[in-house]
């Protein structure tokens, strides 16, 4: 694709998705457990804290807004995770959750929580270690070449997930720690613990990764053309692959340590966006951040407004949407 044309497409796609994202953010901050009101929200947002109602100002800015930002970061990260793994492994079904990388990070995070480490950097570090170990396991189970085969990859993922589930139950049975009270909710992917400070730290850590992946987006295009061709185009395959794997795992671990493993976002969004905008990763990377963010904000919105009492983990919604899509993709790709 020619450069000016690419730039034009990039601008068009981004503008469209930014508009959708802003709409989703607005919906997200205007509804919650104390009811929703579009007009009320508009007034609060426009007039500011001096308005007659400081309480709804606090609710919108201090409670709902951090949560919406968290959803955007998580959705963007997981969509990118799916996009990167699908390109690296040349497998349409690859995704951090399906591969077991999220569960590995989950185990690491639980160990960190049990050890009494702070959320940053302690629990994040143990989560990252967990995800790296599962990644290593995946490579051991299916050596380089066969990893690209769909069945081997899926089976390895299933096994890693089963092992992680067993380990989590093991840890929960061995300890009677009150810190694990909330763990079942967290294990399904839960955004309710959005603390403004933690969301700020998460954003600071993730945004450079987003930029780095955008820089590497053309390399992902080349990787998809095959190793030989990529090499002749001057791509250092080893370094690129390693960088992509490390950055993506780091990003996923960050979100897991805060919200638990949210599944299937990395499957739904990249496929949908590829269908609409085509296969160019230079467009898809920003599209995944914006589109994935929008998707996650809406899923979390459903998760906290559907139940009459309390709320459900956002991962429940993403799984209900994601699993049928996974089955469709599996059927189509095995034809």
């Amino acid at each position: 694709m020619e450069r000016p044309l690419l730039l034009k497409r990039l601008c068009a796609v981004s503008t469209l998705l930014v508009i959708l994202l802003i709409a989703a953010i607005f919906l997200g901050v205007s509804s919650g457990s104390t009811g929703s009101g579009i007009r009320q929200t508009l007034r609060t947002l426009l007039i500011g804290p001096s308005a007659a109602d400081p309480m709804s100002y606090t609710i919108i800015w201090q409670i709902r807004f951090p949560r919406v930002i968290l959803a955007i970061l998580v959705g963007g990260t997981l969509s990118l995770g799916g996009l990167v793994f699908q390109a690296l492994l040349r497998n349409p079904l690859a995704e951090p959750f399906i591969l077991g990388i999220s569960s590995g990070a989950g185990i690491g995070a639980i160990l960190g929580i049990l050890a009494g480490l702070p959320r940053f950097p302690g629990v994040t570090a143990t989560a990252f270690a967990g995800s790296m170990i599962t990644l290593f396991l995946l490579f051991v189970m299916s050596s380089g070449q066969t990893l690209m085969k769909k069945d081997t990859l899926l089976l390895s993922g299933v096994m890693v997930n089963a092992f992680c589930a067993a380990l989590i139950t093991f840890l929960m049975s061995m300890t009677q720690d009150s810190r694990l009270h909330n763990i079942l909710f967290w294990l399904m992917g839960d955004l309710s613990t959005a603390d403004p400070r933690q969301v700020g730290i998460l954003a600071l850590a993730l945004i450079p990764c987003f930029v780095l992946l955008f820089v590497l987006s053309n390399s992902m295009n080349l990787l998809l053309m095959g190793r030989d061709l990529a090499q002749t185009m001057g791509l250092n395959i080893k370094i690129t692959t390693l960088t992509l794997l490390l950055v993506t795992s780091f990003m996923v671990s960050l979100t897991v340590s805060l919200c638990g493993p949210v599944g299937f976002v990395g499957l739904v969004m990249p496929h949908l966006l590829r269908l609409v905008f085509g296969p160019d990763h230079r467009v898809l990377v920003p599209a995944c951040i914006l589109g994935g963010g929008t998707y996650m904000v809406l899923c979390d919105l459903l998760a906290r407004t559907l139940p009459e009492q309390g709320e459900m983990p956002a991962g429940v919604i993403t799984a209900i949407v994601g699993v049928p899509l996974f089955i469709i993709l599996l059927k189509r790709s095995s034809r």
């Binding site: 606090t58 009150s178 309710s192 613990t193």
Partner: protein, 287 residues
């Protein structure tokens, strides 16, 4: 948040210093036990929100819910515009307490560890809620009821071996660091699950080997499967409790809430563990 009314600095039971209003008007409770304490102190008119399973006294169930004990809803808490919240140290998530603190909402954390601690908590809450005389009277009444039970069971010839079952599958009992352990000992029984683990798990075989004289089962309020549990135990007549038909049910809400009704739980336990001391019932007579 709210207007700057007269405030004072207090230290809560987790050691945090916080500024509380001199006369709190909008109070939110994060646990059923705290709700019960606020009602017994006569300050229910100031309760603007309670945790989800606050169902005693029944009027408490009418109050707006701010989410469950474990999964508190910060948005609803903020929306009830509290000038003071009460939380428990172990049950309620710490991050909710710190988020509310960041929003300038004072949260008084209570942390009673035993029956004496519950009464101290009640006195402290009475002080904070401007109900100190009432708290003192309630605690005095509790103390005298506890002393009556203690005096009564001191006359008992034996200390029956009690197995207190709080969970059916797996079988879970209560260790040393629990209120129930203290109540069993105070009511003149021996807790067979005594040990460092707060909620130890048991196999059927282990319970058989312990040979309890009394088996008490609590999970009644959550599903009414007591008959089924009794039948399961009835298959093992080698257990003294089975032979003497002493598998009994107790209301879990009385036993797992560190609040004013623990003293009722104590009296019930004493009657169940030492029925021989209660014919005729001396506690009834004195009332």
């Amino acid at each position: 948040m709210g207007t700057a009314a007269a405030a004072r600095t207090v230290t809560d039971e987790s050691g945090r210093h916080l500024s509380v209003p001199e006369d709190p008007r909008r109070v939110v409770s994060f646990a059923p036990s705290i709700t019960e304490i606020i009602f017994v102190l006569g300050r229910q008119d100031r309760l603007k929100g309670v945790s989800r399973f606050s169902d005693y006294p029944p009027e408490a169930g009418q109050l707006p819910s701010v989410g469950s004990y474990i999964h508190l809803d910060v948005e609803r808490i903020v929306a009830s515009e509290p000038d003071l919240c009460f939380a428990t140290k172990d049950g309620n998530p710490k991050d909710v307490v710190s988020r509310l603190a960041a929003l300038q909402i004072p949260v008084y954390v209570v942390d009673p560890r035993n029956l004496e601690g519950v009464m101290e908590t009640m006195l402290r809450m009475g002080d904070v809620l401007d109900a100190a005389p009432k708290a003192k009277a309630v605690v005095e009444e509790m103390r005298s009821r506890i002393d009556r039970v203690k005096a009564l069971v001191a006359k008992a010839p034996s200390r029956p071996r009690v197995f207190f079952q709080i969970e059916i599958s797996p079988i879970v009992s209560v260790g040393e660091q629990t209120f129930v352990n203290e109540l069993i000992e105070m009511a003149g029984g021996t807790n067979l699950a005594k040990g460092p683990a707060p909620y130890p798990r048991f196999s059927r075989e282990q319970v058989l080997a312990l040979a309890p004289d009394v088996i008490l089962v609590t999970s009644m309020a959550r599903g009414g499967r007591f008959e089924q549990v009794r039948e399961e135990w009835a298959r093992w007549p080698s257990i003294p409790a089975v032979r003497h038909n002493r598998i009994l049910m107790v209301d879990s809400n009385l036993f797992d809430r560190p609040g004013p009704r623990l003293v009722i739980a104590l009296e019930i336990l004493a009657r169940l563990i030492h029925p021989e001391l209660f014919v005729p019932d001396p506690l009834e007579k004195k009332k």
